[in-house]
């Protein structure tokens, strides 16, 4: 068992390099992927709730296609064919970040879609009655309310993006996993580099997971309490003072 940890003291010397690789490459790719993913996600999420059948179909096809294929295949596909699409080829880092953004954009669009649909339908009708156009309704009324519902799942997606930056290693981008593997191969010790890499990923992702759970509790409470109070008030008014709560 402790064979796995042999050489751990030596890999600890490499920690600054690992962390630097992580921040400079993995986190940068994660941030670019997050931005691309948010843009795609919001556009497709809003499109999925629109009334035009074409927009809904495009969004549906995109989401289904990307949620049911492995990300590694997407990565290889775009990496191998990028010289034909963009003359001169694209460097591996850009391809990786774009693929991550495209892939997670599908998941984010589902989150955005469910967030928009969770905002009460009455809001949309009330806005229409006040003379808002479709776009104005979306921008001023629905999206601000949907944001509160969307943020906790998006935080979980951010954790997923950071974890998925590990696939950049496969196309030889110098991210954390790549460094770990290079160290393992030239030092001859089997385990420690990966254990250190796991600790770095954990140290970054675990706080985000905790944040996501905290946000979920915080946002859910405000909503539920108001709804429960409103229902109780309604019941009181109906049955002449007696409130039959749910058992």
């Amino acid at each position: 068992m402790f064979l796995l940890f042999r050489g751990f003291d030596q890999v600890l010397l490499e920690t600054p390099n690992f962390v630097e690789a992580f921040i400079a490459v993995s986190m940068k790719a994660a941030i670019i992927a997050l931005i691309i993913g948010l843009v795609i996600g919001v556009v497709l999420g809003v499109g999925a709730t629109s009334e035009s059948k074409i927009l809904r179909a495009i969004s549906r096809i995109y989401v289904e296609l990307l949620q049911n294929t492995p990300i590694l295949i997407l990565l290889f596909f775009l990496y191998v064919f990028s010289p034909y699409v963009v003359p001169g080829g694209v460097d591996a880092f850009t391809v990786g970040s774009v693929v991550l953004g495209i892939y997670h954009g599908a998941y984010i669009s589902e989150i955005v879609r469910s967030g928009i649909q969770a905002v009460a339908k009455g809001q949309e009708e009330a806005a229409k009655s006040q003379g808002f156009t479709k776009l104005q309704t979306m921008c001023y009324i629905i999206l601000p309310q949907a944001v509160r519902i969307i943020i906790p799942p998006i935080t979980t997606q951010v954790v997923g993006i950071i974890k998925n930056t590990s696939i950049l290693q496969v196309i030889a981008v110098g991210d954390l996993m790549y460094q770990a593997q290079i160290w393992t191969s030239y030092s001859g010790f089997s385990g420690p580099a990966f254990i250190l890499a796991a600790m770095i990923y954990f140290a970054v992702c675990y706080p985000l997971t905790l944040l996501s759970r905290h946000l979920e509790k915080k946002f859910a409470k405000g909503y539920v309490r108001k709804a429960k109070k409103a229902t109780q008030r309604k019941e009181k008014a109906k049955v002449g003072g007696k409130v039959y709560g749910n058992h």
């Binding site: 034909y84 930056t165 290693q169 675990y206």
Partner: protein, 230 residues
């Protein structure tokens, strides 16, 4: 059309099918063992004394916050070398640990969703705690979270593509091997299209099943609701 006939040779098709068989075999073994591990972990975290529960929770959190590729590489270059295991077994163990943590979260949500009244009703009938778990709670929890478990199966099938990185001959590896024979772009695109189509067909059918099951569940009465009085 010569592209199609040049790619769909019997040899190539056999390559793809071999890869598909390896992928599905690995995925089935993974989901089976990770379901067992996940259920055990969920029961330990929820109902065992804190002394056992905290290490289990640490295990689950560790595997939830680290990437799968890390563990795949660790299994191949770390565990397999250190213990001189076959890399297939080592990576299978890593997959089982990783997805065991995910299944544990799912099962915990299922167990927590069961009405407290079930516990009391079972105790009043004289069930021991183990009996309660085995005959009443776990079956209900599994039925509740079945859609999520199938989603996890979809994720497992997608993540078997990571095995191609460590040269295990599953679908993507075989697909890329087939692709290496061809030089022209259009044939390579057809090869990729075939791989993507196979993954998409399997996963999409499973996701339709997931949607069907979760719709059926939504229209059913919630589990273990007590009677409404008044």
């Amino acid at each position: 059309m010569e592209i199609i006939s040049s790619v769909f040779t019997p040899g190539n098709v056999r390559y793809f099918l071999t890869g598909l068989e390896a992928t599905l075999q690995f995925a089935m073994l993974s989901i089976l063992f990770s379901f067992v591990l996940g259920t055990v972990l969920a029961l330990v975290i929820n109902y065992a004394p804190k002394l056992l529960g905290y290490p289990a929770m640490l295990f689950v959190e560790l595997y939830r916050n680290t990437p799968l590729l890390l563990w795949v590489l660790f299994g191949r270059f770390g565990v397999a070398k250190a213990f001189r295991l076959d890399s297939y077994m080592a990576v299978l163990v890593m997959f089982v640990f990783f997805f065991g943590a995910i299944v544990c979260e799912t099962m915990r949500s299922g167990l927590n969703a069961i009405n407290k009244g079930q516990f009391e009703a079972a105790a009043s009938q004289g069930f021991s705690f183990a009996g309660m778990l085995r005959y009443i709670l776990v079956p209900q929890a599994v039925k509740l979270v079945m859609p999520q478990l199938l989603s996890t199966l979809i994720t497992i099938i997608k993540d078997t593509s990571f095995l191609s990185v460590i040269s295990i001959a599953e679908l993507m590896y075989q697909g890329r091997a087939v692709m290496a024979q061809y030089v022209s772009v259009s044939e390579k695109i057809v090869c990729y299209g075939i791989i993507i189509a196979i993954y998409f067909t399997i996963n999409f059918s499973l996701s339709l099943l997931v949607r069907h099951l979760s719709n059926k569940q939504k229209s059913r009465k919630p589990v273990g609701t007590s009677l409404k009085l008044g």
